[in-house]
């Protein structure tokens, strides 16, 4: 029983309950930041810890990496949310009561995601993801406008479908494990399932993987099942968009990766690689073209998230130490950059009073500070040097090119299409003739600065210790 592993789930739960009791929204916002900071600090202690494998909890180099990323972005998002929410209260879009609810739910969502990441029991992992999904549904609908309700409803229905399919897949995995490990807990324990993977029933595993891929794939936002994602990003509060893109998609993909490892360890089962490559490429290219038609700034970046999740799924589908390494690196770069972009976009939308791209022009004249943040963010996310995403995308493409040149060309094509769309939009946003009304916002630029400097540093120089850590995680993925 390891205290700090449990603390990572207990701190946010306790904080959530406390925040629900604090009436003042200012104190609540500070409490939210403090609790998220404390969780992040606890997660840093994982770095120095040996692997933990218990009945319900597992800590290996793969999920250590996810937990640290999760809590870091949770921490910076809570700092951004404090300045964002203040403005929402001033303009009357949210009442203090709703903000109290919002802060409690924010912590509950962080707890649910950490539980999903640390669970060694595939049932508990599912529960964590389901809870996180339901909480984000409520958060997306928090503005209670017709559009927000419609987005939340769509998210709810698609989320339920995905999550039910994933649960059925989980039952099938249990059935496959039952034949070898016997009835009860061991057949639901991921580490034990993995250890005896070659002996499991191949047909059951195959069917289970299809259900899990479609189920968790819906949550990742992979192409035919992505319909909820742009709406949910566009209509909810911007800190939630940042958390959805930067964290929840990652956690869902992490769950999928756990099962991919399981099925890949069975020589007679189907090969997950080609399926993931196909779905990944489809999402990447589809989303890249969809970027051109977007008129809403948050939808634009939501589609960009689909594109990047597609690329990451593609990289993990290719597999092998190098592609896995690149996939993990790209996951970090995408999380950090995309949440930084949403931090900037949140304040931009507040300053301009609209999310419509047609109403957001000439930002370099009206809000130079925000313009710089947004510009760097978009340059970083489109995979241009010297930012980290350039390096990870380059690694993905070059490692693919060595093995399957045609696939690498297809992926490169998708990336270039997306690059064009993003730069085109960025130019209008920054240098078009200034339009519309203009409100003053007291934006805190620290959160996005932290993220972008991390991404910049990663693009210029990755310390050897970080590389070794990523390599260990990549090896686990096989």
């Amino acid at each position: 029983m390891n205290v700090s592993v449990w603390a990572i789930a207990v701190i946010p739960i306790a904080a959530g309950i406390l925040l629900a009791l604090i009436p003042s929204y200012r104190v609540g916002a500070i409490g939210n930041v403090l609790a998220s900071g404390l969780t992040f600090a606890t997660s840093l202690s994982f770095l120095a810890m040996p692997p933990v494998v218990e009945d319900y909890v597992i800590l290996d180099s793969l999920n250590t990496f996810f937990v640290v990323l999760n809590t870091l972005v949770g921490f910076t998002t809570s700092a951004f949310s404090a300045s964002y929410i203040g403005h929402e209260i001033e303009t009357g879009r949210l009442t203090p009561l709703f903000v109290r609810f919002y802060h409690a739910m924010f912590q509950a969502m962080m707890a649910a995601m950490n539980i999903a990441l640390l669970a060694n029991n595939i049932g508990v992992m599912w529960v964590g993801l389901e809870l996180a999904t339901l909480i984000t549904v409520v958060m997306v609908g928090i503005y209670r406008t017709p559009n927000a309700l419609e987005a939340a409803w769509k998210y709810f229905i698609l989320g339920i479908v995905g999550i039910s399919l994933a649960f059925f897949g989980t039952i099938l995995v249990y059935l496959a494990g039952q034949g070898v490990l016997g009835e009860g807990l061991p057949a639901m324990t991921w580490s034990k399932l993995l250890a005896s993977a070659p002996k499991l029933d191949a047909a059951l595993l195959n069917l289970a993987f299809i259900f899990l891929l479609v189920g968790y794939g819906t949550k990742v936002g992979l192409a035919p099942l992505h319909a909820w994602l742009p709406d949910a990003h566009a209509e909810g509060p911007t800190p939630i968009s940042a958390v959805l893109s930067g964290l929840l998609l990652n956690v869902a993909l992490f769950a999928l990766l756990r099962f991919k490892m399981l099925i890949a360890a069975h020589p007679g089962a189907l090969k997950p690689g080609p399926i993931m490559i196909t779905i990944g490429l489809l999402s990447l290219i589809f989303a890249a073209f969809m970027l051109y038609q977007r008129r809403d700034i948050k939808r634009l970046f939501a589609y960009s998230s689909i594109e990047h999740m597609g690329l990451i799924t593609f990289a993990f589908g290719m597999g092998g130490p190098l592609a896995n390494f690149a996939g993990l690196l790209h996951m970090v770069m995408h999380s950090l950059t995309k949440s930084a972009i949403f931090f900037a976009v949140g304040h931009v939308a507040q300053a301009k009073g609209t999310q419509q791209l047609s109403g957001i022009r000439g930002l370099s004249v009206t809000n130079p500070g925000l313009a710089v943040g947004l510009a760097f963010g978009v340059i970083a996310i489109s995979g241009l040097p010297p930012f980290g995403a350039f390096m990870s995308e380059f690694l993905i493409l070059s490692s693919t090119f060595a093995r399957e040149p045609l696939l690498a060309l297809a992926a490169a094509f998708g990336l270039l299409v997306a690059l064009g769309a993003l730069l085109l939009r960025l130019q209008n946003i920054l240098f078009g003739a200034p339009t519309g009304p203009h409100h003053k916002v007291s934006a805190s630029s620290l959160p996005w600065m932290v993220h972008l400097s991390l991404v910049l540093v990663a693009g210029l120089y990755l310390p050897a210790a970080v590389i070794a850590w990523f390599q260990k995680a990549a090896e686990l993925l096989g």
Binding site: N121, G123, V124, V127, E130, L131, L134, V137, V138, G141, R144, P146, N147, L149, E150, A152, W153, F156, I157, I160, V161, S164, F167, F168, I171, Y174, L175, Q178, G179, G182, E183, G184, L185, A187, M188, D201, A203, L204, N206, L207, P230, A234, Q293, R294, R295, D296, R299, Q356
Partner: protein
């Protein structure tokens, strides 16, 4: 324990388990064509009670007393409390009238039959190794789940969509208990998540009511239609 002694009880146990799971499937088909909200709620309550019986029977036959807890929760919450709560909500919101169907009854029945055969073929094909108890129960459970999806698609009313969602959950619990010895943790958490989901739904229905004076999902579609005309987003 000798085989000869076990054969007769096993056959009976097998028949009863299949009868109950089969009845749940019948209830799923009934949910597809009921056109009054109260009838839908009653059918759902009946399905939940059948689920409770099926789960309790599994617990009795396989000597898993913890399944009785699951059965009691299914009976109390889904068989009684939730249908009553929805009933009250329907009365209070004044929406007890006929339910719109997006697809006519005949075609939704045929779709349902297709999905059921799909579930049977799929599960029976890939599980030759498992005991027939498990595999046929699993096939029926998958059919209940797929019919729940169908109901969520063909129904245009928020309350009937909640029922569709909960009948999916019924199918999931049937599948989970059919897989012998799956730890209680899972069932407890499923029940828990159903509660939370119901809460979420309830909040929504009230908000939709508050905004549109109706719980027809079509109102939401109309909103989306307007937005398309204004040309935001897509």
């Amino acid at each position: 324990m000798t085989l000869a002694l076990d054969v007769a009880p096993v056959m009976v146990a097998y028949d009863v388990a299949h009868f109950l799971a089969g009845m749940m499937l019948v209830a799923s088909f009934m949910l597809l064509y009921q056109d009054r909200i109260f009838a839908v709620l009653n059918t759902f309550a009946a399905q939940a009670m059948l689920l409770a019986l099926a789960v309790a029977w599994q617990g009795y036959v396989h000597h898993h007393p913890d399944l009785f807890i699951t059965a009691a929760m299914a009976f109390g919450l889904k068989g009684i409390v939730i249908p009553l709560a929805l009933n009250r909500m329907v009365v209070r919101l004044g929406i007890h009238r006929d339910v719109d169907q997006a697809v006519n009854v005949a075609s939704s029945m045929f779709l349902g039959l297709g999905l059921t055969s799909l579930a049977l073929l799929l599960v029976l094909k890939v599980t030759p190794g498992a005991s027939s108890f498990t595999r046929e129960g699993l096939a029926l459970a998958l059919a209940v789940i797929l019919l729940g999806f169908l109901m969520m698609i063909t129904r245009r009313n928020a309350v009937t969509q909640i029922v569709g969602f909960m009948s999916i959950e019924n199918g999931l619990i049937l599948a989970a208990t059919g897989a012998r010895g799956m730890p209680l943790v899972v069932e407890v958490s499923v029940a828990f998540s159903v509660l939370i989901a119901l809460f979420v739904f309830a909040v929504f229905v009230f908000r939709i009511r508050e905004r549109f004076d109706s719980v027809e999902i079509e109102y939401l579609d109309r909103v989306r239609g307007d937005r398309r005309v204004q040309g935001d987003g897509r």
